[in-house]
Amino acid sequence: MTHESMTRGRITPGLMTRRSLWIALLLVWSLAPMLWQLLSSFTTADALVNDQLSFWSRWTLNNYRDLLSTDPPFWRYLLNSSLVASLTTLLTLMLAIPAAYGLAKLPQRLKGILRTAVVGAALFPYVLLFLALLELARTFALGNNLIAIAIPYSALSMPLALLLLTAAFEALPNDLEDAAKLEGLSLWQRLRWVLLPLIAPASASTAILVFLFAWNEYPVALTWLSRSDLLTLPVAMARIAGSSTYSVPYGTYAAATVLGAIPLLVLVLVFQRQIVSGLTNGAIKG
């Protein structure tokens, strides 16, 4: 809008092709590495290291077959990650929604202090926490447990969730809740029937961002999970990479990348709007 309006009336065919060129370049930059993985995943091991092979003898489905016939099969990691990410999202929202409501009602000063602390936590490079979290996992026997790992994950995504949801509650007019109070609705009823539907968009944004975080989290999963049938996708990926640099089966790698990317591809394309509004609201109001 901005720069278009600056040049309105002067949009020439030349300008349009130049823009198309930039858009094409942007798409190549964003997608080329993934497309290369896709291509590699269908290429035979021989063809990956020998570009003299004829075009027709290069292609195979073996990489996918190998990936699904390992022990545990690859889909197991997808399942683990889905479980952990769903649990984390659920737990985070269950704790963050009432908390954000409470924070939004606090007196200005106290709210300011707490918000600074929460923003600080949101900025914190959480990888530095792994050692103490690992100790906690050992003390309370929470290691190798896909349900327990949702606890640190919820805590780690809580700052962002609180910032987004508190902003959403603050944006609601007070009259609404006052009216519901006059009608004799209890706090729980007000939350459930009046406020929750109104903050649904913010909750959806928060949910998808938390889900993505939990799906992609690496250092905590790396230290909390060691049983090979319990690994989440990022750790499984790194473990494949952990085999020697020279004997690494790159075709299988690529197939793993493709299978691992498909759920996210769907997620991002379907929930693009929620992701964008979540991140941008976090930027504006946080």
Binding site: R19, A99, K105, F124, A155, Y218, Y250, G260
Partner: protein, 288 residues
């Protein structure tokens, strides 16, 4: 009553973010390794003295800061260009926005694995391309002076979409009238960018800068999978060094010291940066 609603969430944050820092502070004055039978034994300031003289730590700190500053600067420039492009109105913009978001949404370890194949010597596509251009072997993942640039590249690829989104939000908050007024006064598009867009975008730029610098300073997933910190330690970050101390050398006392020191360095860097920006007057628009 309302405070009670917030208590569980705040408690969880306090435990998971606050407790580790207290624990590290305590551990950093203890020896806790295989030598002590993995039991903490008070050792005065020995860990801190060791840290002060630990060349590997200071090398890693420098490398981490270099990685963070360079990759975040590049990301910011690139994101600004992309945000300006995505802010214009054209057909298919929504779909392109979603597609450019993908790199950010993928697990870092997954793409790190992908990059290892793409930058592989001698079979990766970059290497093959370089060979066919007659450039010879690039050895991108085994040349200390180059490999860290590959990690920068991978980070830029992955996190630029995040900054782009923040900047897009900023662009959308600038009222259209400002541009019309500026045009009426005879300003060119380039002048509008410098005198209208950038100043109003500043809060968003600073916000993404702050957030990304802190995250990039904690870089771990990427280097652990892509390079393992090598070649010859040239891409090792503070977080990776702390991880190796804890998980490989089983020296928890020193690992805690390294992490606490990393956190303090980051805080000092952010404070210094804030003071610097303040002294040149860049933060004034934020005091509203």
């Amino acid at each position: 009553m309302t405070m009670l609603l917030a208590a569980p969430a705040l408690l969880l944050i306090a435990v998971v973010f606050g407790w580790p820092m207290l624990r590290y502070a305590w551990l950093s004055f203890h020896a806790d390794s295989v030598l002590t039978g993995l039991e903490p034994v008070a050792n005065g300031g020995a860990n801190w003295l060791r840290l002060a003289a630990d060349q590997r730590f200071w090398l890693d700190a420098g490398q981490t800061a270099r990685f963070a500053l360079i990759s975040v600067s590049l990301e910011l420039l690139l994101a600004l260009a992309i945000a300006l492009l995505l802010h214009q109105r054209w057909r298919g913009r929504g779909a392109v926005r979603a597609l450019t978001l993908l790199p950010w949404a993928l697990p870092t370890t997954m793409m790190a694995l992908g990059w290892r194949w793409i930058f592989n010597t001698p079979y990766g596509p970059i290497e093959v391309l370089a060979r066919s251009l007659g450039l010879g072997s690039l050895d991108l993942l085994s040349t200390p002076s180059i490999t860290w640039l590959v990690t920068v590249f991978a980070d830029v690829w992955k996190t630029t979409p995040f900054i782009t989104l923040i900047l897009l939000a900023g662009l959308q908050s600038i009222p259209e009238d400002l541009y019309s007024a500026f045009r009426l006064e005879g300003g060119t598009p380039l002048q509008a960018l410098r005198r209208v867009t950038l100043p109003l975008l500043l809060p968003y730029i600073l916000l993404s800068l702050l957030f990304r610098l802190a995250q990039a300073f904690g870089v771990f997933d990427l280097v652990q999978v892509l390079t393992g910190g090598g070649p010859a330690g040239s891409t090792e970050s503070i977080a990776l060094y702390a991880y190796l101390n804890g998980m490989r050398f089983l020296d928890f006392g020193y690992s805690a010291t390294v992490m606490l020191a990393g956190f303090l360095l980051l805080t000092a860097m952010i404070l210094a940066g804030t003071l610097l920006l303040k002294s040149v007057g860049l933060l004034r628009p934020l005091d509203r």
